[in-house]
């Protein structure tokens, strides 16, 4: 597939032609093209691109990847190649459409052409077991609640689910800021979103100064259903390019429920047999073939300057987002995605309306491989946290009956309030893992009320003495009890600054 070749060039090269017989929304029935293959790209006489999705005796079924309409009777030519997407370092800082072209035509690819512009097949086969490594590094989100209670590993596929407007986007944006600053490439895939949301996202990245570590792959709601369906696959292909350069990638897919709806639309138009909730039978495969491309990998990276080849560990952490309706996690697409990911972070609308931030329900959230990336101390701290919050929830239950509380219950509630205050971080303030642990230890030891965490973050960033005290306390502690003892010293250092 080459953007420079005309329709006539393709016609000449393949010697085959097809004629549009029927247009069914984004799906087109074409007569002819006897040598066509599944997934092959075709070009229409009017300039649109399409992908072959089914073959029959008379012709082929084509998914149109263009907003411009296709007319009946127009000619179609094969390209002889599968769908490819241009990739390169030029992608960083750009907003790309579902065909991998820069939105607004900023000319970034043109500038890089020759030097590093290359193309990758979109429908690539995922790396096998041999090329994969055990997930052993934690993906630090900077959010104490996630990092301590629902830790995510580099290369993990963690579903982010919850009702609309419960703070899912905030978590993702926070995570992207933290990871971009840590050197990862962050790819945000906006699937059928509003144009204003995408502009806002670009502006946010720019404000945070992380544009050069991010890529936005975006389709808006008025793009063709084919383009919207293709969007996450393009994003994954770009992620694989950066992985092969030895870089860690965080891929956010926002959101998969919209993706499923567009695929359902395409399938119904193409007369595929509808199944549960009218979704086609292959909806599971459509999502799982995408998500299985994520993981932690061992890649060989060549250094042209040194002339050597180095083996590196590089991860694609996939964070698909799925909307729930009134907190129902038993929906078809939701349960499908839960079964093909390594856990899920659940945003509870009840907690959100109670004013809890972030509104993550740690008791419903799951992380299957994240805990293996935590140190023994962090695991210990996580256990303490779960105990504290479980007691807090239980004691709150008694409050509803108007029971008179004893001293012990009052202490549990006070501690729970402190923990929740500790979790309610200021926007886009990333708290490092060591600081999270020390903060919790100070909190449990009664040395801190969980508020003004930004003061601690600032001291940790700018005061080397405090940084040393925090890191030293964490390194020297084997369990949470020891850390609580050392937290007194850290607290003294903080008050002396």
């Amino acid at each position: 597939m080459n953007g420079r070749l005309s329709f006539g060039d393709y016609l000449k090269a393949t010697g085959e032609v097809g004629y549009v017989q029927r247009v069914l929304h984004s799906v087109v029935e074409v007569e002819g093209l006897p040598g066509a293959a599944i997934s092959e790209m075709v070009k229409f006489e009017q300039g649109q691109w399409g992908q072959i999705t089914a073959l029959s005796q008379e012709g082929v079924e084509v998914l149109v990847l263009s907003r411009e309409p296709v007319n009946v009777g127009k000619r179609v030519a094969r390209t002889g190649s599968a769908l490819v997407v241009p990739v390169g370092e030029w992608c960083l800082g750009g907003t790309l459409d579902a065909m991998g072209r820069e939105v607004g035509g900023g000319g970034r690819m043109g500038k890089a052409e020759g030097a590093e512009a290359s193309q990758r097949i979109v429908d690539a086969v995922p790396l096998g077991i041999v090329g994969r490594k055990k997930i052993s590094r934690q993906l630090v989100t900077g959010l104490a609640m996630v990092d301590m209670m629902v830790p995510v590993g580099m290369g993990q596929r963690e579903l982010v689910m919850g009702d609309r407007k419960t703070g899912k986007t905030f978590l993702l944006w926070q995570l992207i800021v933290a990871q971009a600053r840590a050197g990862s490439v962050c790819i945000y895939t906006a699937i059928g979103k509003k144009r204003t949301e995408i502009i806002k996202l670009g502006e946010f990245f720019s404000q945070m100064g992380i544009t050069q570590s991010t890529v936005i792959v975006a389709t808006v709601s008025d793009d063709s259903a084919g383009e919207i369906w293709l969007c996450p696959y393009i994003a994954m292909t770009i992620a694989e390019y950066f992985r092969d350069q030895g870089r860690d990638v965080v891929l956010v897919l926002d959101d998969m429920s919209t993706h499923a709806k567009f695929y359902r639309e395409l399938s119904l138009v193409a007369k595929k047999f509808p199944g549960r909730d009218s979704y086609p039978g292959d909806i599971f495969h459509i999502h799982s073939k995408l998500l299985e491309r994520g993981g932690n990998f061992e890649v060989r990276v060549s250094d042209s300057a040194k002339g050597s080849v180095e083996t590196k560990e590089a991860a694609i952490t996939v964070l698909p987002v799925v909307d729930t309706v009134q907190g129902d996690v038993t929906g078809y697409i939701q349960t499908n995605l839960m079964s093909m990911t390594d856990g899920h972070i659940y945003f509870d609308s009840d907690l959100f309306f109670k004013g809890r931030r972030p509104a993550i329900n740690p008791f419903v959230s799951v992380t299957r491989v994240g805990s293996q990336t935590q140190s023994g101390l962090a695991k210990d701290a996580s256990r303490v946290l779960f105990d504290l919050l479980a007691n807090y929830e239980k004691t709150q239950g008694f409050l509803r009956f108007g029971a008179e509380l004893g001293e012990n219950s009052r202490q549990i509630l006070a501690m729970g309030d402190k923990v929740l205050a500790f979790f309610d971080q200021p926007a886009y303030t990333a708290v490092g893992v060591n600081l999270q642990l020390v903060g919790l230890a100070m909190l449990v030891a009664g040395l801190w009320d969980g508020k003004n965490i930004s003061q601690m973050v600032e001291a940790y960033t700018n005061q080397p003495e405090y940084t040393r005290a925090v890191d030293g306390a964490v390194e020297a502690s084997g369990n949470f009890g020891q850390l609580m003892e050392r937290a007194r010293n850290v607290s003294r250092v903080l008050s002396s600054i």
Partner: protein
């Protein structure tokens, strides 16, 4: 019987006329729309086809089945599409159609369109295959292979 009719169908316009004629005969058989029969007779071309179909159909039983089968076979005819540089004359279309019937299939018919960009010659497509025998292509190939000398 069918093959004799199809051997005379040279273009997609002929095919459309025969189908209209078949419809009119069928409606006449069931006497559903008597005025339609009159309207169909207004076109001389369609009348020609109607006469031929009626003759081949005969007087025996099973006329509706015979007409249905004819319609099915007509719809299954192969289309050979032509792109020509100039508007063809009737004689030219007949000659091309004769060539197509002889070289491609007795059950093939011609559909043509005009594209001045071809300069001369023609482009031909059937069964999904595409052949470009235009002057424009020859010229393009010539200029590509031409060795420019000072």
């Amino acid at each position: 019987m069918y093959s004799e009719i199809m051997a005379r169908v040279a273009t997609v316009e002929d095919q459309a006329d025969v189908l209209v004629a078949v419809d009119a005969i069928e409606e006449g058989l069931y006497k559903t729309k008597t005025d339609v029969y009159q309207q169909k007779l207004l076109s001389a071309a369609k009348w020609k086809w109607m006469k031929m179909v009626t003759e081949k159909m005969g007087d025996g039983e099973g006329k509706p089945e015979w007409l249905r089968e004819l319609r099915r076979q007509l719809k299954g005819m192969m289309v050979v599409r032509l792109v020509l540089a100039v508007e063809p004359t009737v004689e030219m279309v007949d000659r091309i159609a004769g060539w197509v019937k002889e070289k491609v299939s007795e059950r093939a018919m011609v559909e043509w369109e005009v594209d001045g960009g071809l300069i001369g010659g023609l482009c031909l497509s059937w069964g999904g295959k595409w052949v470009d025998a235009s002057v424009a292509l020859k010229l393009e190939e010539f200029w590509k292979s031409y060795e420019w000398t000072a």
